[in-house]
Amino acid sequence: MKLQKTTCTILLGISLLGEVASAGDRRFTYVYETTTAAKGEIEVENFATWKTRGEGSGRSNEFDFRHELEYGVTDRLQAGIYVADWKVVDGQAIYKDTAFELIYNMTNPVTDLLGSALYGEVKLGDQLFKLEGKLLLQKNFGPIVLAYNAGIEAEWEGDRFGDFNERSGEFMESFGVSYQFSPYFLLGGEFLHELGFDEWQEAGDPVIYAGPNASFRFDRFYVTTTAMMQVTAVTDEADFQWRAIFGMHF
């Protein structure tokens, strides 16, 4: 109950922060773009992800939520905090982790031959510690935008923070294409490839997801959403996942 109250407080705080926010509208939900918030600009993004796997009565569902606050330190460097990553299990809200990220924009996807940026993230939870690094690439061809991310993450897990007895690594890459039909409606697709390494030893089965993506822009807010089907047959990973990002402007 206490946790639910805390979650509500966090959500209320984030909603209020939205009143001073000016977020850049995202074209993708899994793929990061190379552009960053301008100096002094605050952006707020709320993520909702539904993952499902299994068949019949054995089917399980997971609902994940994330609230991100981003700040333009300079015109090229953006700092972000995932104020709270939490999930809903059996109607109960459970806090997962908090993360900090930095994105450094190196080249612009419009004015340079290829847009590029470096992404770094540190994640801390009750039972985990995670480091992630990515290279972000992007090119804008007028209404068409192509983006590619490649990265690696290292994760340590245990019964409690600091007492880690499991470690794993993961290579991931993602690709997105988006076409702007009008400034208010964009359609495209995203592709995600993940390859895990338990104990940094043997590689697990590669998991690949692909699916359509749409972004709707309104006067004061936007919604970007992607539905991803697993195109491989890895049973202990989600068969289907859907993500939506809600951004607000006031």
């Binding site: 301008a38 612009n108 061809f141």
Partner: protein
Amino acid sequence: MFKVYLTLAGLGFLVGGCASFREGAPDISPAMTKLGQASGDSFEKLVTGRRLLATRCTTCHALEPVSKYTVEEWGGIVEDMADRSGLKEEEENAIQAYLTTVRKTL
């Protein structure tokens, strides 16, 4: 053969990207510089306006051809979008100056 495809893809990338960028944010010509200065807008201000247009506006949407709207219409569009994208007053003024100058020379 792979190298040929790679080179062609690279060239396509370069040409395609540049063409769409030039349409939405044309280079500042000497005529534009002269026109801008006559209106009290320095060359540096026009350069800043062009850079902001190409980098800030495209984080959300593609650039529209400058010829698509009149000077008055651009004025209203930039004013609306400045509020939405959090542009500072001097940044908004620089974009207005650049678009006004370019549109008058078309």
